[in-house]
Subunit: 429 residues, 4 copies
Amino acid sequence: MPFASSRHKAPNTSISNPMTDSIADRFQRARQFTEQLVQPLSAEDCMIQSMDDASPTRWHLAHTTWFFETFILREQADYSEFDPQFNYLFNSYYNTIGEQFPRSQRGLLSRPGLQQILEYRDHVNQQLIQRLEHPEFLTQYERLLEIGIQHEQQHQELILTDIKHALSCNPTWPKFHDLPLDTTSRNTPSEPITIDEGLYEIGHFGPGFAFDNESPRHQAFLHQCTVSSSLVTCGEYLEFMEAGGYQRPEYWLSMGWAAIQQQGWQSPMYWLNVDDQPMQFTLGGLLPLNLDAPVTHVSFFEADAYARWCGKRLPTEFEWEVAASQTSIADNDPFVDWFVDQGLAIHPTCSPSGFCGSVWQWTASSYLGYPGYRPPAGAVGEYNGKFMCDQHVLRGGSVATQRSHIRPTYRNFFPAATRWQFSGIRLAD
Amino acid sequence: MPFASSRHKAPNTSISNPMTDSIADRFQRARQFTEQLVQPLSAEDCMIQSMDDASPTRWHLAHTTWFFETFILREQADYSEFDPQFNYLFNSYYNTIGEQFPRSQRGLLSRPGLQQILEYRDHVNQQLIQRLEHPEFLTQYERLLEIGIQHEQQHQELILTDIKHALSCNPTWPKFHDLPLDTTSRNTPSEPITIDEGLYEIGHFGPGFAFDNESPRHQAFLHQCTVSSSLVTCGEYLEFMEAGGYQRPEYWLSMGWAAIQQQGWQSPMYWLNVDDQPMQFTLGGLLPLNLDAPVTHVSFFEADAYARWCGKRLPTEFEWEVAASQTSIADNDPFVDWFVDQGLAIHPTCSPSGFCGSVWQWTASSYLGYPGYRPPAGAVGEYNGKFMCDQHVLRGGSVATQRSHIRPTYRNFFPAATRWQFSGIRLAD
Amino acid sequence: MPFASSRHKAPNTSISNPMTDSIADRFQRARQFTEQLVQPLSAEDCMIQSMDDASPTRWHLAHTTWFFETFILREQADYSEFDPQFNYLFNSYYNTIGEQFPRSQRGLLSRPGLQQILEYRDHVNQQLIQRLEHPEFLTQYERLLEIGIQHEQQHQELILTDIKHALSCNPTWPKFHDLPLDTTSRNTPSEPITIDEGLYEIGHFGPGFAFDNESPRHQAFLHQCTVSSSLVTCGEYLEFMEAGGYQRPEYWLSMGWAAIQQQGWQSPMYWLNVDDQPMQFTLGGLLPLNLDAPVTHVSFFEADAYARWCGKRLPTEFEWEVAASQTSIADNDPFVDWFVDQGLAIHPTCSPSGFCGSVWQWTASSYLGYPGYRPPAGAVGEYNGKFMCDQHVLRGGSVATQRSHIRPTYRNFFPAATRWQFSGIRLAD
Amino acid sequence: MPFASSRHKAPNTSISNPMTDSIADRFQRARQFTEQLVQPLSAEDCMIQSMDDASPTRWHLAHTTWFFETFILREQADYSEFDPQFNYLFNSYYNTIGEQFPRSQRGLLSRPGLQQILEYRDHVNQQLIQRLEHPEFLTQYERLLEIGIQHEQQHQELILTDIKHALSCNPTWPKFHDLPLDTTSRNTPSEPITIDEGLYEIGHFGPGFAFDNESPRHQAFLHQCTVSSSLVTCGEYLEFMEAGGYQRPEYWLSMGWAAIQQQGWQSPMYWLNVDDQPMQFTLGGLLPLNLDAPVTHVSFFEADAYARWCGKRLPTEFEWEVAASQTSIADNDPFVDWFVDQGLAIHPTCSPSGFCGSVWQWTASSYLGYPGYRPPAGAVGEYNGKFMCDQHVLRGGSVATQRSHIRPTYRNFFPAATRWQFSGIRLAD
């Protein structure tokens, strides 16, 4: 039982560099990092599915493995499957591959056990690594391998947000890990970034990896605006709450007003009062609310209402991208690998002046295809395109994202009522 | 009981012209046209609320009256209310005005009776008309009066779509009216309209009325494309169905695939087989399916899936607007006032080559504010702005829309699963 | 439109006597009494279905007619149906007869109109009356005719309870009728009725009509007990409320406690505070609560909790029947025909010392078949037997029941959470 | 991790005798038997909650411990709690004790871990055993200890039925244990037991333990009837299915017909066709259907419909008790301890001629208090009395019941739609 007893050890991940490291190295690091992340969890923790949108940790461990097996290994004549039933059990939503075990019942599966899932991971890892020595194989599957690594990284983030939600359902407020908080100050004076009216190039370009939904690069006409260089803090958000923000319909989209009535929302997710002290549930258990930290676990509705209350608005994803392209990502930006490397709890602790990391930032943009976008053929075409409806773009990455996973053109997306991700607010004007 | 016994008589509405007619004339015509529309209905028909999204006819009659009373008359010191309880009963969704009787229970109200609602209409009409003689009043309330007229026209359309849905729940397939179908042919050869890459002006300009959501007029960069000059017909859509369109997930957005599974959709709404003959339920009862007519009562999901199956796509609302601005609206275009004037059943009967009328056309665009858009202050600000989330823009008007209500910049919007409106498909490439 | 304008006139129903009047007379009186009851309602009132358990008045008018048509007239070779579609539209739950229009959608049917439904009633009445002159017909169908009359009477009661619920959904608190309240005092000193331990005969006997579920008459062993001769009053029930009855789980069945939490019940149905005055909604509109009147519109759960709070219990239906058999039904007992004859509002106004009328009384007994009970063959067998599961027996009749409909062996039954019937409490010990 | 690796070993439980063994011995055996039962399960298996009605194995392990701690140990001044949070976490439904963690979320708790729950069991066991040496303690708590042991036995049965349901949700059909089936034949000729009309004594008497709901012993008058000496078999039930039993409404209670429509039931629970072979899911995995075995996992509705189809009926619980009192319980009757002692899979494998064991038998009786029944004061009063509403009595015990737990007066009860218990059919006439 490797998970039950051990605790988070000082990690020694040297951060991988997608530009210089071999894909074989990066494959192995990505796979190891997943297992490193789940070290603090017991087999029982890995069972919990606390809502339909979230999955048990054990499912993430298996599904990311299924991805490599299904899209690469199953095409190899000499590959022998670990277990033929896994194709059904661990398919998430790829209709082209076949039927799927119902999403909402993932928490009902105790077999295969965690130990067997880890063996499944090993099996697929070894089968893939031995083939990575063949240059033709590498050439043929480079794009799919890269997608698989990116996919693994996305599920690393979901492992963290899903287990946070799972543990939050337990009235004993269990800790995911017991590590010190970050006390680094990254604050620099906030200076709004001005964007001039004109035509801008939007979308991915150059040699690095990007998802299909970041293309084609295309021109868009932007009007003059300013984008804040800093994120909205918990303290600022508390002012909105104290001004009756959750009680005044005029700040809210109609669907947002309905959502806060139906759900009884009165604050961001995971905030609660304990003996009249504002607290928040974190991966490190119940902690006092840090007023200087960026607000997180807000829905699009709350981000939008806050902006309206300020007399501002959310930036469009194009404005965000143009503003972000004027900045750069630093080695110590608050991404998950930095926290793990430093042996710190995964939690936003300071108001970053950078654009990326800390919290995902809701934009005013609906998640739609760029002009000329067509999903790729085959099952991989189901990755991004079919979700382009009634979802909202978030940009920038969070404390649960790997730095190597993020770029200024990266588009994350969730429905407007989503709160269990590390999602926050950047304003525009 | 004016509604119970009389049948649709040959109408004599001369079509009003918003550019030349006085607003007092247009007010009276709009109000009369509503009552003319409901002539074929009994008091009992006017009671039905067949789903939460639809309202009883009687509610539409009262709510449009409430609108003029609330936004104009209640501000007049010398106005005496018809009944103070109506402010609560007939408020739709204006939180700024006060609480609202629950939407889903509108069908439970039998009091005030239809007769009393008609007296309420008369009361408000008279109170308003006598004030319209005063130029200062006219100047002060011109914008609100205009909005009230437009609002009345929108509810005229809803009266027709809601009663169609209501009657469709009755297994005896009642007819709304018993009038001949249009046999006019408007077909002209379909020639795709080409739009060149470049910057275009989008949004309302000039002296006529427009809603706030059509502004500000602004520049947008469009890529080269073509927009079809004709609508997709029932016959063309039937080919998609016969090619297994509803059984193949690769054509569908993820939410669309879920919707057709959950709802059991296998065809557009109101289509059914009777003794192996394809039929459709219409305002004139059960009729054979006309393969040459534009397909209607499809959701955004179905429009999008059909386009994908064709290897095409839906136009964005900007592409639609640019294409539409190259056409003009003719006197005999298939709008509701033309049908009423001709004494014809309200039903799409031919494949129009024009851009407007017949069926609303789903676009690829989410319903969002234009750059620089801010909702107006006060209760009227709740009209359009607060719905800018997870809705999809439709353009062009339908057989249930008044011609004077439509312009190329007009933006209609509904959730993606909506089918009870007269909604159809125009393709782009 | 006979219903819209007229108001309740002084009635002149001489009460029918099932022992002496011919069945033809009684058939006609029963049918007329239904129409007399609905006089105060508009066609629109008759449309409302305010919950799945209730039906629109118009449906009751049609369904009772359907009953005679289906079980008697359709068997006659020379009978010509009024409309063949009605067999589907107005079948309530007789699977043996055929499929049924969905119960929860009865409020969506505006056609046939009320006028046509009244013509349907006339048609069936005339067809039946002309056949009643033939003695063979009378002999053959006497039992079915009697069931049809009893069935009509049951729906008369449902018309009143359903319209009360329907009107209660209207925030203007409409009155069903505007008649004076009963100020008669029937109070006599309450003396508990003692039942000695021993074997008793239970169930119907003798020549009069009874439903199948009142048979077979059989022996049952009862233990010694006392049954109260008076009903629990609103004032007594208020004491329970003020003692925290609705907040203390120890008084409640587990399902009852869950029900009051989920439904938010804090008092009997239709009670509300207006300006700190306890009021109740009645068929005569909003009235002050009468503390001396029997409490009504309580569920089985509330009756049971009240009894527990008193240290008493509800009688079993056998105890009730034995106690009731020691009393008799008086001409001026508070049944619906007495109220109508007196021109009084239908509402419990005094604490009756009699056993029958005023409010139905929840018993401790589940609704099950008596020893040896077998449902009759054919569709009529669906009348009572198939509901013998998870329902609770009520005895005694109410202000909405006809006196000729009640006898000491009569078993009414409803689920434990039912509150919209005139249901109250009699205690035992 | 005692559960993860070990498999079911040959057990050596000598069956306890409630009449001769000390309560201390019986306490220890009951506690050990629970742990023995869960041996085949992994910590992950113990997490699953597959429906609201079922609980995770780990919860049963903790709740039974909580019961002894709460009702006995917490009253001892010198007792130190294992963990104060457990009082909230593991209270099932005792409102008198305090609030309860929501039942439907029991599957979301991974902490305390299984290991800690087992330590909790040890802690409470030791604390209790050391006190059992004091005669005054024993005297004072004998009744509560006895209830605690009976309670533990009830949860042993639930552990088996709940894990069976949990594993059945896994499409790989996991086995709970891999043991041989019973091939013993217990069949003796079926001879109906005749009960003569007359007064009978019903309910518990004598020195042994019984629950409050089995008292007071009282007289009841029974009519002449016969009760079958054998249970309905799978083969007999299959005939009902093949005769269209699930398609013909005339055999069903109204609620039963609704249930089979809504749930899509076409056979008993856990039956399925694999390659056209009738199979059933069991605690030993997927097995061929044994036509000679008693049918099990049927609801009250199915039992009742089957009986009606046969022209018979279910016995009342009084008839059952009188018939059962003419039989005796043998050492090798099919109860769980016999299966465990023999090292056989827990599964009904033969048609028993005895009255008890194998499957619980639905009776025609609603679960109500006997004449004069009053629930005990205090929290223990919540054990049985508050569930006396809309539940149905089952008698006889099953393959998952301990022999020492059963007696002819024992009343089990479940809602009519319950199928996950080992419930079957005995007929009467």
